[in-house]
């Protein structure tokens, strides 16, 4: 009874806190400008199914993809077990689904066990890859400090979780063999794929009392880890396991080369080109943004901000970026991480000090430098590589737009190039009248 109360309090507190955090992230994302991503639902569902559920882009690199798939499928299927834990916890029962599901129960738990081992192997492989093999993409400057700790912590949490599962099932199996499990009054075996072997081998020598304690440690440990994981998630790059779905659903479905059209500019240009247009005509509602391009996170769209929360910090973008490969400061992963960090800071500031609060900082300048922004070749390699369809280039372009249109700050050669286009209709200093000269030259 006491156990059931403790359990229920933990359940409500754990899920409640998680819910509050989700709402907070949602409101942070909605600080972004509006952009319409509701068209073509069919194509969107398909993209989500392929990219998020089917992990299509992960398979560009098959070995990490398979390891990742092991963890992912295990994560999804263990949710079945989670439901049982919650039911047992509230009702004070033991393995409530066992009698009603029968053989199916054995199958389900066996699958969970096998996948847990797969996840364990994958986890060890990932820890090794990160810390011993020192892959360059995990060692970039933006990965110092929390990001590396975050990556390792989550892997250690998984390790503990899997250990708990096998302590729980293994000890219970040993009890069952002695006829002392709470699941049944007779002696027998659960027949689970792995713990029916692990149980007698690891736990066979313990007394019934010790086994009961071990089984409970595993069970409660499992539950605590689930809640810990759930509540750590919103602070971590592992939030992608949830956000990958909406983020791929709202993917950009246009050709990658198509940059967004700035409607506010269109209206002004039309006025400039058409002498008969009425300059006092009512402006199109909301067409003029507070500024051209983006200086801070609230100038970006909600999709850019969702991208930032979805980033898994895997660095596939950065390792394919021509600027980064050749030693420039630009790293598309850093662009995403900076956007997220700044958004959290910006939104927390407003939450604490009222919505008119300005902290005098901005994404451009305090987080991302002009040098980074100008190093991009707009090649779309980062967009192509991202396993969860993030678009770092969209942010880079909006930062450039701000620099050029609001502050006229750009490398001097570009000022010249732009002047040439405006005066001569070509980026170089040639006379427009000579444009057809090639026809008659040989």
């Amino acid at each position: 009874m006491v156990a059931a109360i403790i359990f229920s309090v933990m359940l409500i507190a754990g899920f409640g806190w998680f819910g509050i955090n989700i709402l907070k992230i949602r409101s942070n994302i909605l600080l972004g400008r509006d952009i319409d991503r509701k068209d073509k639902p069919g194509q969107r569902w398909k993209t989500m199914a392929l990219v998020a559920l089917g992990q299509k882009k992960m398979f560009a690199r098959p070995i990490p993809a398979l390891l990742h798939l092991g963890i992912y499928v295990a994560f999804v299927i263990t949710q079945v077990e989670l439901i049982e834990i919650i039911t047992d916890g509230i009702r004070g029962s033991h393995r409530i689904f066992m009698s009603s599901l029968g053989g199916l129960y054995t199958l389900a738990i066996s699958i969970i066990e096998v996948l847990s081992v797969a996840a364990l192997i994958a986890t060890i492989a990932f820890l090794t890859r990160r810390n011993i093999l020192k892959l360059p993409r995990f060692k970039k400057p933006e990965m110092k400090g929390f990001p590396t700790f975050d990556a390792n912590l989550i892997l250690v949490m998984e390790l503990i979780l899997v250990t708990c599962i096998f302590t729980m099932n293994g000890a219970d199996e040993a009890l069952y063999l002695k006829g002392a499990s709470h699941a049944s009054h007779e002696a027998g075996s659960f027949g689970f794929a792995i713990s029916s072997w692990v149980g007698p081998h690891l736990f066979g020598g313990f007394s019934v009392e010790t086994l009961h304690i071990l089984e409970r440690i595993g069970w409660w440990g499992h539950w605590v880890m689930v809640l810990a994981f759930l509540n750590y998630l919103p602070y971590s790059k592992h939030f992608h396991i949830l956000l990958a779905f909406p983020n791929t659903y709202y993917s950009n479905l246009e050709k990658k080369g198509k940059f967004t059209n700035m409607e506010a500019v269109t209206n002004e240009v039309k006025l400039m080109l058409d002498p008969t247009a009425d300059p006092y005509a009512a402006p199109v509602a909301d067409a003029t943004p507070q500024r051209f391009g983006a200086k801070d996170v609230n100038d970006l769209t909600w999709k850019n901000l969702m991208d930032a929360y979805t980033c898994t910090e895997c660095g596939r973008c950065t390792s394919s970026c021509p600027a980064n490969i050749t030693g420039k400061k630009l790293s598309p992963r850093k662009i995403m991480m900076d956007t997220r960090d700044r958004l959290v800071e910006y939104a927390d500031g407003k939450r604490k000090n009222g919505k008119d609060y300005e902290d005098g900082k901005s994404l451009l300048g305090d987080y991302i430098t002009e040098e980074e922004v100008w190093a991009c070749t707009s090649c779309n390699a980062c967009v192509q590589e991202c396993p969860v369809n993030i678009d770092p280039l969209a942010i880079i372009v909006d930062l450039r737009r701000y620099l050029v249109m609001e502050e006229s700050k750009m490398p001097t050669e570009l000022t010249g190039m732009l002047t040439n286009i405006e005066n001569n209709g070509a980026p170089w200093q040639f006379s427009p009248a000579d444009r057809g000269n090639w026809i008659h030259e040989d």
């Binding site: 080369g257 240009v269 021509p322 600027a323 400061k329 570009l414």
Partner: protein, 263 residues
């Protein structure tokens, strides 16, 4: 070499004719000495196949692509609107261009400003001409047995998913098409895109075109085929950087085809 036949839209209009297709030459193709050769190679192919085409000549102006990539939406839209006025004035329906940047901008970014045309890259047009039998390439031509590698232009490949047309053309040459380790969707940029062509690179430890040329050298190809005048410049400079300009040629796919067809 026979003289080129290049009518302008204005000339055609004066004679009451309408061309089937407009050849959008682009700034590079009009003014850059190296790129002009690519322009002429394409014209020779168009002439050979008696394609009813025209150019805008002095009425053409920059699409605005470099302005847009540099973040100046005003300059871009001014250019776009003026070009659309000219194009619509001539009732242009279909456009071919040898520049993936013009291709991308005309195809993807002009429609929202009112300019709606069917736009194709020159490699796609040449492929059509060969497939329909209008253009014939002799077997065992000048490129027989040569190793050729194709450098994917970002604005043709990743930006617009055109990977096959240029490769299909190279295969018609009886040559051996060898792929670089980074190709198609994973192709590495030449370093010119996003207005980089017009400025010094930021501080780093290497130029992007040098990194990319290394990929090409690894394939041991003697010809680097390109489909973009800017890639062509970048790869040519890259080859010079390794002092290989006497062993390795950088040629546009249009030039390869024109040479093979002995035009």
């Amino acid at each position: 070499m026979s003289t080129l036949h290049v009518p302008t839209m204005a000339e055609m209009m004066a004679q009451g004719q309408t061309p089937d297709i407009l050849f959008w030459v682009g700034c590079s193709g009009s003014f850059d000495d190296r790129a002009k050769k690519i322009t002429k190679a394409l014209v020779r192919i168009l002439n050979e196949c008696q394609v009813n085409f025209a150019v805008l000549g002095a009425e053409e102006s920059c699409t605005g692509d470099p302005a847009k990539r540099a973040g100046n939406e005003f300059t871009f839209q001014m250019q776009a609107m003026m070009n659309i006025q000219v194009l619509d004035g001539y009732e242009v329906k279909k456009i071919v261009t040898a520049c993936p940047h013009c291709f991308n901008t005309l195809k993807n970014e002009y429609p929202e400003l009112g300019g709606k045309y069917e736009v194709i890259h020159h490699t796609q047009l040449i492929q059509e001409l060969i497939n329909s039998g209008k253009l014939k390439i002799k077997e065992g031509g000048v490129f027989k047995g040569k190793k050729i590698t194709f450098h994917d232009p970002c604005y043709l490949g990743r930006a617009n998913d055109v990977y096959e047309a240029p490769r299909a053309l190279i295969e018609k040459l009886d040559a051996e098409l060898v792929e670089m380790k980074r190709c198609k969707t994973t192709g590495l940029c030449c370093g010119a895109g996003g207005a980089q062509m017009f400025k010094e690179a930021e501080k780093g430890n290497k130029e992007v075109n040098v990194e990319r040329t290394e990929d090409a050298l690894e394939t041991e190809a003697t010809i680097i085929a390109t489909g973009c005048p800017f890639c062509n410049t970048m790869m040519t400079d890259g080859v010079k950087n390794f002092n290989k300009e006497h062993e390795i040629q950088v040629l546009d796919v249009a030039e390869l085809i024109a040479n093979a067809a002995e035009l």
